[in-house]
Symmetry: C2
Subunit: 297 residues, 2 copies
């Protein structure tokens, strides 16, 4: 089966800040689109643009050639794929199951195996780029699964992705995404602590950034998040609660699965957990600065 606008029916489950704009791109590219979300209201704009509603995951899987899932947590993914009326038991033979949630590599492998046992195909394909990347159709998509399935999905992925890379077998997409989050963890901790140090030393943070933002300390976080942070804007580009989830997933992967000592990841997970527990789970990741400001008074 080849995936193409005009002939392929895509089922999309999960229409949050990421899923809704992604599904919109799929629809505008000419794919037949079936949608489902826990909160039906999230589908309204898509339905008005020509998408069709599926009342349950089972109904959606029964009528789709490709099923994309973009939900919140690994537990949601597990229920969706393995629960009663779940995708594994509901999808028609040959269906391509595409989990784009940032989730557990081990769960991705389980889905891959269960899918194969039922004559289905599955890939894990988490993304980076955030809600802005989703709206502007320039996500980075990291794919785990068989290379031929990754290739087959390209016409679909191109509707909302810019960088589309097959990372390896089932779970490799998730591992790549978690590696990405580890790198971001280090950059965020360093950036925020540098600004806290500068603040404590009596420097003007904006003046500091004019010295350091384009040299060896340069990062996407410094360019995009430091100005927000310094303006006291802690609104979410990327939620603290989601970053905690990702860092905990990476930590479990490093410790339990890979046997890797990961001291930076441990610190990043601990700091962001502390921030979430202090009541800032719904802030953006730049809010880590609050831990310093509040300590120093």
């Amino acid at each position: 089966m080849s995936v193409a606008a005009g002939s392929t029916t895509v089922g999309f489950i999960g229409l949050g800040v990421m899923g809704a704009p992604m599904a919109g791109h799929v629809l505008r590219a000419g794919f037949d689109l079936l949608v489902h979300a826990r909160r039906a209201g999230q589908a309204e704009a898509l339905l008005q643009s020509g998408a069709r509603w599926a009342a349950t995951p089972h109904a959606l899987a029964s009528g789709a050639d490709v099923v994309v899932t973009m939900v919140g947590f690994p537990s949601d993914v597990e229920t969706l794929y393995f629960g009663d009326g779940g995708l594994i038991e509901s999808a028609r033979p040959g269906t391509l199951l595409v989990d784009m949630t940032t989730s557990s590599p081990a769960l991705a492998r389980r889905i891959g195996e269960a899918a194969a046992a039922r004559g289905l195909r599955a890939v894990d394909a988490p993304v980076s780029g955030g809600d802005v990347g989703a709206r502007e159709a320039r996500l980075s998509i990291m794919i785990g699964g068989r290379a031929e399935d990754a290739r087959a999905l390209e016409p679909l992925f191109r509707t909302f992705g810019k960088t589309i890379v097959h990372q390896g077998d089932h779970g490799a997409g998730q591992h790549a995404k978690l590696a990405n989050q580890i790198a971001i963890g280090g950059t965020m901790l360093g950036l925020v602590e540098a600004l806290a140090y500068a603040n404590a030393a009596g420097l003007d943070a904006g003046t500091l950034l004019s010295s350091i933002a384009h040299g060896a300390a340069a990062s996407s976080a410094m360019t995009n998040l430091a100005p927000r942070l310094l303006a006291g804007d802690f609104s979410p580009g990327f939620y603290v609660k989601h970053f905690v989830k990702d860092l905990e997933l990476a930590l479990r992967g490093a410790r339990d699965e890979l046997g890797l000592d990961a001291p930076l990841l441990e610190l990043a997970a601990a700091r962001y957990r502390e921030l979430a527990e202090a009541g800032y789970a719904n802030d953006g990741t730049q809010a880590l600065y609050r831990l310093y400001r509040e300590k120093s008074g």
Copy 2:
């Protein structure tokens, strides 16, 4: 006194990988140049191009309008400024003393006070940009001291600097540089651990970078150091031993001077100290990856 090519004699002490190219730019811009280095051989090329040799710091200070120091460690700076025949006692009234070594903010303040007491002027002006930035005359110069002295030095700083910013009073240049190093510490720890995680998970690191190098995890370190690291090239752009020095300075500043909890900085200092103690002090900072490779076998 205004600083200008053709009328100002610049004395330059310290002609290592940073100092030598910086002094070369000063000379080529038309300044009269006096040089001194512990190892006289380091001055040879400059002397052949028209610089004059000063046998001691005292001789240099006695004949210069501006004295630039670019040496290794805060202890070297202390000896140079406060030792017998040091710059504070040797310089002529009105001389501008410019320490460009990455050094202690507290020492920079002491120099500022001692200089003022003798009718001298002093600024701290550490740089970032490394040996490449020094050769290509595009260093970032972070200045602490009086604004009028920072302004007066611009014609000199422009010969080797691109980003020249007055950060505040004596010591503020050093604090800015240390904040820069804290941010780099986080970025390096995150980058290296992300690559170690990817390696342990069986990903191809080059393929991983093609997914993540231009998104939210992007950094100067990822662009410039990850390819070297993955090629097994641990040669120094920036030495581990110097980074350890900088992180220890920042840690003392945070703890003892500012009363700031700095967990990321503590971890970065501990990891790089561990790397130096394992025998890799003369590698480049990307060699932090060795701590992971050697642990996982």
